[in-house]
């Protein structure tokens, strides 16, 4: 099992840089109007996104140069810290409420989302767990259940904020990792069945979720309320056509589409850059997926392999969910588009994850 240091995977590196660059441009374009309206400064979000992107790049360079085996040792303390943060954010007075969800921790201009931390730390923890207990993976009770227990804690805490999108993306990632690491297919199949029942119950329990589901099915049934976001998103994407209306020329960003620089940035991109732009984004994410899984396949050890696919999956799950939501291919769940959506802590932790992935790629089997 000799591993020797090599060069990082440049395709991933440049794909990520391209997504990041497009993100900065689109954040500016999408947010200029609402930034001007709300903060009297068109560059409000652009300035911050540039700072976050620089910090993200630094985080990436930092983790890229740290031997990823370090994370295996730190996995348990990190997940414990994450749980503490997730509990803290739920305490009234500690967590900051934005749009009805208590997701933010911090003060002044520095805020982080513990759920963003949780995405990465859960991947680190799962990789650690699956690598350490790979011999028990075939056993449901001894192998799968303990990991699900940890997932349940994290999932429950995040759902409490509430942030269903993030919770689902974490659950999905853990599920994929269980599959990759060799869990029995029928175990996972049963879990899926339970999950589907759970989702149905969750939907029936919260009327707003049912509304969203109906809205997804026919957004024009209630265009001013539940269907509003999705209709505006479709208007934006549809207006783009093949070549788009031109960079900076989005109309939907004129307060029709709320928060156009965060969860719905892909819609604005679709409007301004058209099918060319949206396809480019899909291609970049495909390159990322392909190289990410390639690193996973050629990682020098099981830990590296699971960790690489964990990071890749984590980012992909979010990307695919986001694009599916804004194209009305699945019900609305708030989830940002990795690399592109405005969002400080999310970007830093995603970039840190990419750094780890690149570090694994430096140590692949020859």
């Amino acid at each position: 099992m000799a591993s020797r240091p090599g060069s990082p995977d440049y395709i991933i590196f440049y794909s990520v840089l391209a997504l990041l660059g497009l993100g900065i441009v689109m954040v500016y374009s999408a947010s200029a109007v609402s930034a001007n309206v709300n903060f009297n400064d068109s560059y409000y979000f652009l300035k911050r996104q540039i700072i976050w992107a620089v910090l993200g790049l630094l985080a990436m360079i930092f983790t890229m140069n740290i031997d990823y085996h370090l994370w295996r040792k730190l996995a348990k303390p990190i997940i414990l810290i994450t749980i503490v943060l997730l509990i803290l954010v739920l305490i009234p007075g500690m967590g900051k409420v934005v749009n009805g969800a208590r997701r933010w921790l911090g003060s002044g201009s520095l805020y982080i989302q513990p759920s963003e931390v949780a995405k990465l730390s859960m991947v680190l923890f799962t990789a650690y767990y699956l690598a350490n207990y790979q011999n028990k993976i075939q056993s449901f009770v001894k192998g799968v259940v303990p990991l699900l227990g940890m997932l349940a804690v994290i999932f429950g805490l995040i759902l409490k904020e509430p942030d269903l999108g993030t919770a689902l993306s974490i659950a999905g990632t853990v599920f994929v990792l269980l599959f990759i690491a060799g869990a029995r297919v029928w175990h996972l199949g049963s879990l899926t069945a339970v999950g589907v029942v759970g989702i149905i119950l969750a939907i029936l329990a919260e009327p707003y979720r049912l509304k969203r589901l109906i809205a997804f099915n026919d957004p024009w049934a209630d265009p001013l309320d539940t269907g509003y976001h999705i209709i505006q998103s479709l208007y934006a994407i549809g207006s783009g056509g093949i070549f788009g209306v031109g960079l900076g020329r989005s109309r939907e960003k004129f307060l029709y589409l709320p928060e156009p620089h965060t969860d719905f940035i892909f819609s604005i991109l679709g409007e301004e850059l058209g099918l060319i732009g949206t396809t480019t984004i899909l291609v970049l994410f495909f390159l990322f997926a392909w190289r990410g899984f390639k690193i996973s396949m050629s990682a020098s050890d099981v830990y590296g392999s699971v960790l690489a696919s964990g990071i890749t999956t984590m980012i992909l799950v979010q990307a695919l969910m986001n694009i599916a939501v804004v194209t009305a291919s699945m019900p609305v769940t708030g989830i940002p588009l990795p690399f592109l959506s405005f969002g400080g802590s999310a970007l830093i932790f995603t970039m840190a994850g990419v750094g780890i992935l690149l570090n694994i790629s430096k140590n692949v089997n020859s």
């Binding site: 990759i180 690491a181 060799g182 783009g240 679709g270 899909l282």
Partner: protein
């Protein structure tokens, strides 16, 4: 056993990658569907929710007289509108506006709360009100200039000009009949709005400039019109009549040189008058013309050569037709007289004889050729076509009374138009009210040439009738119309009005039709006075009006 699990991991990674590719493929299809197939529909809808169309009124064209005097102009006046989505504080806005514009606050509130892109608050406000609205500077409330019609000559030619409504649409007169030329084309500002109702700064999509309306040049001559108006006022005062009308026409071109009625109205404040004042009696009211109609009987008789000017008639004062006795207006009759004298004296029995001799077929041939029984087609709204007994049903007694201008109802415009044909050499022509239409640059859009409707009589007959009518003024009933130094032709008329139960006692229409110069008339006038008090003979009250008008007009048109 690292290698076995590595193999499993690779296999399963391949499965995951395939699933990812499938999902991405599905999303690509979805994007293609949205951005190619549904793109048009979605973008149309997206545009619809952002676009608001604010109409920009076109300035209405002016109306001039034949010499270019302004009779109707458009001036800009301000109107207050609201774009409800832009209003920040509906309550204060409504309160403020209600105070400035003197409106009901609650109604205003309802208006402002409605979900609509654009609504009028108050149209055509005063300068002070506009200034007040400008000062409070409320968000979502704006002022825009609208055209307000202004008639600088007030009542003058009101019945020809008509008036316009709040939206500058023509409602009566030339304003109505030539509305499509005058109104121009509305422009619009298409503005894209953001979701909060604010204008998207650089996105004014289109500005469709309004097209200024065309200018209409009437056939009226304001000088003649003013003389006519003056005389109408005078005669109304003197006779205490119910109404009066004067029409002046160029007999060779059919151009109306003046047209006025009493009662009248000021088109600047038309709404303050009773609608009956708006009525253009000269073209809308049919009346039994009485003796003025004898011009047409004379023309038909001479045209058919069933009588000559020197043929002798004997008027005993009455004549019997179908067992009914028709009296001449002169007790005891006129005795022996030539046909020329019959016309001069306006002798009823003479005309009855001529009418019966003419017969229904011949008489009707001329009546139709003169355009009676049909509207003249003048470009003014509300023209009546009069009442004429059907030729198939006409009896000798009808014929006898028609010959002297009874049992037939014509409008003043029909009558003067027929007389034009008599004196212009015999050609029936359509009366014209508009000479030309020009666009704002002065280029001709449409000009109205003389419209001939056929030859009714020969020039010789025309000359003969003119001579007779000249002697009516010189020697006969039309003496009061004579003007020293001018050759005047004309005919008086006095007709009892017909009501529901037959002729109405004491209610007459006194009239006079005259022209000058008698040999080659430049202008023909019709004067009709409806229900004068006291003296009601056309020769005594209508002929002097004609004289007064003609006295001022003749020197004017000579220049």
């Amino acid at each position: 056993m690292a290698s076995t699990s590595h193999v499993t991991i690779r296999k399963r990674l391949a499965v995951v990658l395939i699933i990812v590719i499938l999902i991405m493929g599905a999303l690509s299809c979805r994007l293609g569907y949205l951005q190619l197939y549904q793109s048009h529909w979605l973008s149309e809808n997206a545009i619809d929710q952002r676009i608001r169309n604010i109409p920009v009124e076109a300035r209405r064209g002016n109306i001039y007289d034949r010499k270019g005097q302004k009779l109707a102009v458009s001036i800009s006046i301000e109107s207050v509108y609201a774009i409800p989505a832009e209003i920040r504080d509906v309550e204060t806005t409504a309160a403020n506006l209600a105070a400035i514009l003197d409106l009901d606050k609650n109604k205003l509130l309802d208006k402002l709360k409605k979900r609509q892109a654009f609504t009028w608050i108050a149209r055509k406000v005063t300068t002070e009100q506009a200034e007040g609205v400008r000062k409070v500077d409320l968000a979502g409330i704006g002022l825009t200039e609208e055209g307000e019609r202004y008639y600088p000559q007030d009542n003058v030619a009101a019945h020809v000009l008509g008036f316009t409504g709040l939206d500058s649409q023509g409602l009566d007169g030339v304003e109505l009949t030539f509305d499509q030329y005058l109104r121009g084309n509305k422009g619009s500002i298409v503005i894209e709005y953001d979701a909060k109702g604010r204008e998207i700064p650089y996105a004014v999509h289109r500005y469709l400039a309004p097209e200024v309306g065309n200018d209409v040049y009437l056939t009226l001559d304001i000088v003649i019109q003013q003389i006519v108006e003056r005389e109408l006022d005078k005669v109304m005062q003197e006779t205490k009549a119910k109404g009066a009308s004067i029409i002046a026409m160029d007999p060779y071109t059919g151009e109306i040189l003046a047209l006025a009625n009493r009662p009248d109205y000021n088109p600047n404040h038309f709404a303050e008058y009773e609608p009956k004042n708006w009525r253009n009696a000269a073209i809308s009211n049919a009346f039994e013309p009485g003796s003025t109609f004898k011009i047409l009987t004379t023309t038909a008789a001479l045209g058919e050569k069933i009588v000559s000017l020197n043929e002798r008639f004997f008027d005993s004062g009455a004549i019997e037709v179908q067992g009914r006795t028709i009296h001449c207006w002169k007790h005891g009759g006129h005795g022996s007289e030539t046909f020329k004298e019959v016309v001069e004296n306006s002798c009823n029995t003479g005309f009855v004889t001529v009418g019966l001799r003419l017969g229904a077929e011949n008489f009707y041939k001329y009546l139709h050729a003169f355009g009676l029984g049909e509207t003249t087609g003048i470009d003014l709204p509300g023209e009546a076509k009069g009442i004429m007994i059907k030729e198939s049903k006409v009896t000798p007694i009808n014929l006898a009374t028609m010959a002297m201008g009874q049992s037939i109802a014509v409008t003043p415009i029909q009558l003067i138009d027929a007389v034009c044909a008599v004196i212009n050499g015999g050609e029936h022509i359509k009366p014209q009210i508009v000479r030309e239409i020009k666009n704002k640059d002065g280029a001709m859009v449409k000009s109205f040439a003389k419209e001939g409707l056929g030859q009714v009589i020969s020039n010789e007959v025309s000359v003969e009738v003119k001579e007779v009518l000249e002697s009516v003024v010189a020697n006969g009933t039309g003496k009061n119309a004579a003007i020293e130094g001018y050759r005047i032709g004309g005919k008086t008329g006095t007709a009892q009005k017909v009501g529901a139960g037959g002729y109405m006692p004491g209610k007459y229409i006194a009239s006079f039709i005259g022209f000058a110069p008698a040999d080659k008339p430049q202008i023909v006038f019709l004067v009709a006075i409806d229900e004068p008090e006291g003296i009601y003979y056309g020769g005594q009250i209508a002929a002097p009006v004609f004289k007064n008008v003609m006295q001022d007009v003749l020197p004017y048109i000579k220049n």
